[in-house]
């Protein structure tokens, strides 16, 4: 089923919220890391405007950023991510940020790390305005590099109309071999994962976990 595998030794992941990495790419990242890759995760916000506060709620607007910062660090540890950068932007506000500031920070990371693969959200097809704005900043910045210097960009998409607009994912990964790490990453987000639309409040069977979390897919972003 796996539709790649180019070797990637340096990978840059850019998502706006702690837990985006867990649901969208934890298995893929664990797989690359086992193969020797160095992964940098640039997480733009602390998810401080999230609505999930634990069940029953143990967090609030004031305590959530500190709690989610710890959860993010634990999730990265579970996946094996070696380098976590928290960029300090305000949750929900990425689309209103100074684009030059965003782009310059992403460019700095690209120059410093020279990744061969960048993972982010597909702009316009990723539901949350922060997701779309993050993907837009990454693809805009990578697109400005000379073609020969551009890393491959793999995007996550899940808007209801996304397949009509951008077709099926060209990268599909069976991550069942990495589900222990992926589920540990998801469960590290203690204030979040019990939400009904995420994992829910009851123990899932192994089969349910395989069906719901065993595949990760990406669209290779076309710059032409």
């Amino acid at each position: 089923m796996n539709t790649i595998q180019a070797e990637h030794q340096r990978i840059l992941v850019v998502f706006p919220h702690p837990d985006d990495e867990a649901f969208a790419a934890a298995g893929t990242l664990a797989m690359y890391i086992e193969g020797g890759a160095q992964v940098t995760y640039a997480c733009l916000t602390l998810g401080e405007m999230g609505r999930n506060m634990g069940i029953p709620p143990f967090a609030n607007r004031v305590t959530l950023p500190t709690i989610r910062k710890e959860e993010l660090a634990d999730s990265c540890l579970a996946i094996g991510i070696q380098d976590l950068r928290m960029l300090g932007f305000h949750d929900k506000m990425i689309e209103f940020e100074d684009q030059q500031l965003l782009d310059s920070l992403i460019l700095k990371l690209l120059k410093e790390l020279t990744p061969s693969l960048v993972i982010t959200f597909y702009p316009g097809y990723s539901v949350h305005p922060d997701h779309d704005a993050t993907g837009a900043a990454v693809t805009r910045t990578v697109g400005r590099l000379p073609a020969a210097e551009r890393p491959l960009v793999h995007c996550v998409a899940f808007a209801s109309n996304h397949e009509q607009m951008i077709g099926k994912a060209d990268v599909k990964l069976d991550v069942t071999a990495f589900l222990t790490k992926k589920m540990a990453s998801i469960r590290a987000h203690r204030s979040q994962f019990q939400a009904a639309e995420l994992v829910g409040n009851r123990e899932l069977t192994d089969e349910e976990i395989r069906n719901r979390f065993g595949t990760e897919q990406f669209w290779t972003y076309r710059f032409d």
Binding site: P57, K92, A196
Partner: protein, 114 residues
Amino acid sequence: MLPLQPQDIQTHIDRLAGQDLYLHLELTTGAYASHLDSTRPSASAFITNAAVRYTNGSISGTGPYRVGLKTEQGWVYAEGLTHVDENDTERLILAGHDSQGKLIVALQLSRERF
């Protein structure tokens, strides 16, 4: 967070009256509302660290609760409040959660910036 006791909240509101405060006020369906159910539009608003001073305020209802604060020039209002941060004795941190435990409304007052 614990389910709020209105008499404790009233005491706290009275204690913060007549002072220069910072306000965080928020109402949200969440950014995924319309993605999860196309009949529900996503709608949210928040203002954070707004300077506010109220002359009197009260909590009302039988739960979920309403809070109204009368300012020198107008009003601050929140409905749907259910929980309070019981560990925060200085600031007043109120939130309203839906049946799934998600935050839908927040009203917070503090002498220091959030």
